[in-house]
C-alpha cells in the first residue's frame, strides 16, 4: 500500500495535478464480536485532497517543503514530563492553523518516551504527551475529529543508545499527517 501512495505522490509532483487520493480514516468504532484485526484500522475512504496537492502555482505543498515550518513534525520533552515547552509554540501553532484551514485533513499525534521504566506506564506517559500537543492544537483552531492521539511508549525509539543524549531524542511527539 505504501508503494501505491508514494507512486501517487510522485505522479502528482510530476504532472502537477491538484487532487490526489488519500485515505481518510473512517471514525474508529467499537469492534463488533468476532471482528479481526481489520476493525478500526484506517480504511480506504473517498478521495480527499489537501495534504499532498500542489498549490496553484505548481510549488511544493507546505507540508513537503523543508523550508516551511510545517515540515517540522517533532516536539521534544523533558524527563518524566508532558509539558509542551514554549520553544515549540510557533511550530504547533502552524500545524493547528493548517488543520483549521484544511478541514478534511487528519493527523495522528504519536507520543514516545525514553527507554527507562515500565513499558505500559510509558505507553500512558507517551499518551499524555500526545494529548498535551492535541490540547494546544485545539486551542488554536484544530478540531477534535481531526486529531487522534496515540502512544508508542518506549517501543519505537529514534535513537537506540543508552545515554542522556539518546534518551532526550526519544522523548517526543511525532505529528503524522494521515495518508502520508
Amino acid at each position: 500500500m505504501r508503494k501505491w501512495i508514494i507512486a501517487a505522490f510522485v505522479a502528482t509532483l510530476i504532472v502537477g495535478c491538484k487532487s490526489t487520493e488519500t485515505q481518510a480514516p473512517a471514525p474508529i468504532e467499537e469492534p463488533a464480536p468476532g471482528t479481526t484485526a481489520a476493525a478500526g484500522a484506517t480504511t480506504g475512504g473517498a478521495a480527499t485532497s489537501g495534504i499532498s496537492g500542489t498549490t496553484a502555482g505548481g510549488a511544493l505543498s507546505p507540508l513537503k517543503d523543508p523550508k516551511n515550518i510545517l515540515f517540522k513534525r517533532t516536539i521534544y520533552f523533558d524527563y518524566d514530563s508532558y509539558v509542551v515547552k514554549d520553544e515549540y509554540r510557533v511550530q504547533i501553532d502552524a500545524h493547528a492553523k493548517y488543520l483549521q484551514t484544511n478541514k478534511p485533513v487528519r493527523v495522528t499525534l504519536q507520543g514516545h518516551t525514553d527507554e527507562r521504566g515500565s513499558r505500559e506506564y510509558n505507553i500512558a506517559l507517551g499518551q499524555k504527551r500526545s494529548d498535551a500537543v492535541k490540547k494546544q492544537m485545539q486551542l488554536l483552531g484544530a478540531t477534535d475529529i481531526q486529531i487522534e492521539t496515540v502512544s508508542f511508549g518506549k517501543e519505537k525509539p529514534k535513537n537506540d543508545g543508552h545515554d542522556e543524549a539518546a534518551w532526550a531524542e526519544n522523548r517526543r511527539v511525532e505529528i503524522i499527517y494521515v495518508g502520508e
Binding site: 500500500m1 501505491w4 485515505q23 471514525p27 474508529i28 467499537e30 469492534p31 463488533a32 464480536p33 468476532g34 471482528t35 479481526t36 484485526a37 481489520a38 476493525a39 478500526g40 484500522a41 480504511t43 480506504g44 495522528t108 504519536q110 527507554e115 527507562r116 521504566g117 515500565s118 513499558r119 505500559e120 506506564y121 505507553i123 500512558a124 506517559l125 499518551q127 499524555k128 494529548d131 487522534e148 492521539t149 496515540v150 502512544s151 508508542f152 511508549g153 517501543e155 519505537k156 543508552h162
Partner: protein
C-alpha cells in the same frame, strides 16, 4: 479499498501462524542459590538409555534450577536401585542424601512406555511417592516435569511449577515474536510474528489463550489469541491507545487501559470485546491493572497523587486505597497468587528494581539490583519471579525467588528477550 483489504488480509494471515518451533532457544543458568538446599540423588531410571531423552536428567535439571535442591552423586552404588525396595538407605545417607528418586521404563506392546518412579526418604526410611505413567516417548519431557513436580511437592510442601509454560517477546532486528516455551526454556513455539512491537502478553487463567498488545496498526491494540488454533480477535481497538490487558479469574472479562475517553483510564471488557465499562475516573494516568487472586480487587498504577504509585481498587465498594509510599516511582503491580502481597517495580536513585510488598505488614523487600529491571511475572506457586533485565546492552530474562535468594538468568542467542508472562498451572 480492496488493495488495502488484501494488505490487511496478508498481515493478519502472517500474524495468525499456528505455533511453529522458534529458532532462538532460551538457556537458563543459576547464578545464586538458596542458603540451604535439599540433597537428593536422582538415579538414572532402568532402561532409560534405550530412548534418546534421559528422563532422570530432565528431572535433575528441573530440581537444580529451582535453587532448592542439590544433586548427590549416584555413581558407584551397585546394584543401581530402580525400585523403592531396592534403595539401601544407609548407603545414601552416607553420601549426604536426604532422599533418592529411582525409576524404570518399560516398553508396552502398543509403542507407549510405562514410566514408574519412586521417591524414598532415606533419613526416615519411608517411601514418599510411587507413581506410574503410560506415555509416548514424545511425552517424556512432560513426564519428567511431572515427576519433578511430585518430588518438589513432597520435599518442600509447595506446589511445583515445572510443568508450566512461560510466554515472552523475542526481538531480532526489526522482527518481534511472541514465544511460548516450557518453564525450563525448552521447545519455544512462535505464537505471533510481527514487524512492529508486541508487548504485555497475559495468559488466560485456563492457559488456552493469550492477550497481548500489538503496534502493527501504528497504535496500541489489544488482541486475544487462541494457542490451539492461532485464531485471534481484536479485544480493544478504540480511538487512541488500547493496552495493559489483565484477565479476571473466570476468564470471561479483562481489565484494560483505554484512552478513548481522554487520558489513560481503566475499563472492564468482556473477552469477546463487548460490554465496555469504565472502572474509575481520574484526571491523570490509571494503568497496569492486575486482579488479586480472590477476584475482589484490582491493583493498578496511577499518578493521581503526583507521582506513579500503586493503588488497590475494591470492586465491591469502589474504594481506592494507596499501597506504596516509599519513593517517587512504584509501578507494575502483580498480585502474588498466595494472596499475601504483590511484586512491583520501583525506581531508586535512577535504578529500576523488582521488589515485593506484603499487604499486612506493608514491608517492602527489594529483590533485584537493576539498573533496568522491569515487567515482573510471578509463578503460580508464588515462589519465583520472572522479569526482564538488561545485560551488555541486550534484553534478557531473569528470575529471583520471592525471598531474594535464588537467582537465574535466561538468555537467547542474538535475541532481545523481554515481557515475560508465567503461565498457569496445568489443569
Amino acid at each position: 479499498m480492496f488493495r488495502f483489504a488484501r494488505f490487511l488480509f496478508l498481515l493478519v494471515a502472517f500474524a495468525l501462524l499456528a505455533p511453529v518451533p522458534a529458532r532462538a532457544q532460551l538457556t537458563i543458568e543459576i547464578i545464586g542459590g538458596a542458603g540451604t538446599t535439599i540433597p537428593i540423588a536422582i538415579v538414572p531410571f532402568e532402561n532409560e538409555s534405550n530412548w534418546p531423552l534421559g528422563i532422570s536428567g530432565v528431572v535433575g535439571a528441573d530440581l537444580t534450577r529451582s535453587g532448592l535442591f542439590k544433586l548427590v552423586d549416584y555413581a558407584g552404588i551397585v546394584p543401581r536401585p530402580a525400585r523403592a525396595e531396592e534403595v539401601r538407605a544407609g548407603d545414601w545417607r552416607a553420601r549426604g542424601a536426604d532422599a533418592v528418586a529411582v525409576g524404570t521404563l518399560r516398553a508396552q506392546p502398543d509403542g507407549r512406555v510405562e514410566v514408574r518412579f519412586a521417591l524414598v526418604d532415606v533419613v526416615k526410611g519411608a517411601e514418599l511417592a510411587v507413581v506410574s505413567y503410560v506415555v509416548t516417548p514424545a511425552q517424556f519431557r512432560a513426564t519428567a516435569h511431572k515427576i519433578a513436580d511430585v518430588i518438589y511437592e513432597k520435599l518442600t510442601g509447595d506446589v511445583g511449577v515445572f510443568s508450566t509454560r512461560i510466554a515472552y517477546i523475542a526481538k531480532q532486528g526489526p522482527r518481534y515474536q511472541l514465544h511460548v516455551a516450557e518453564a525450563d526454556g525448552y521447545n519455544p513455539q512462535t505464537v505471533v510474528t510481527s514487524n512492529e512491537p508486541l508487548l504485555s502478553p497475559a495468559w488466560s487463567p485456563d492457559g488456552t489463550r493469550i492477550a497481548y498488545v500489538s503496534l502493527e496498526n501504528k497504535k496500541p491494540v489489544v488482541y486475544i489469541q487462541s494457542l490451539a488454533t492461532g485464531q485471534r480477535q481484536a479485544l480493544a481497538n478504540f480511538r487512541g491507545s488500547n493496552s495493559a490487558p489483565a484477565w479476571a479469574a473466570d476468564g470471561r472479562k479483562l481489565a484494560v487501559t483505554l484512552t478513548k475517553d481522554g487520558g489513560s483510564q481503566l475499563f472492564l471488557i468482556n473477552a469477546d470485546g463487548t460490554a465496555v465499562q469504565r472502572l474509575l475516573s481520574s484526571p491523570g494516568i490509571d494503568t497496569e491493572p492486575n486482579f488479586t487472586p480472590d477476584g475482589r480487587s484490582i491493583l493498578f498504577t496511577s499518578d493521581r497523587g503526583g507521582t506513579p504509585q500503586i493503588y488497590r481498587l475494591n470492586l465491591g465498594s469502589n474504594a481506592v486505597e494507596r499501597l506504596t509510599f516509599d519513593g517517587s516511582y512504584n509501578v507494575s503491580p502483580r498480585a502474588t497468587p498466595d494472596g499475601k502481597g504483590f511484586v512491583f517495580v520501583r525506581r531508586d536513585g535512577g535504578r529500576f528494581q523488582v521488589a515485593i510488598q506484603d499487604y499486612a505488614t506493608r514491608q517492602v523487600q527489594v529483590l533485584t539490583s537493576g539498573p533496568l529491571d522491569e515487567s515482573p511475572s510471578i509463578s503460580p506457586n508464588s515462589k519465583l519471579i520472572l522479569y526482564a533485565a538488561e545485560q551488555g546492552g541486550r534484553g534478557i530474562l531473569a528470575a529471583v525467588s520471592s525471598d531474594g535468594r535464588v537467582k537465574q538468568r535466561l538468555v537467547a542467542p542474538a535475541t532481545d528477550v523481554r515481557e515475560p508472562a508465567w503461565g498457569p498451572l496445568p489443569r
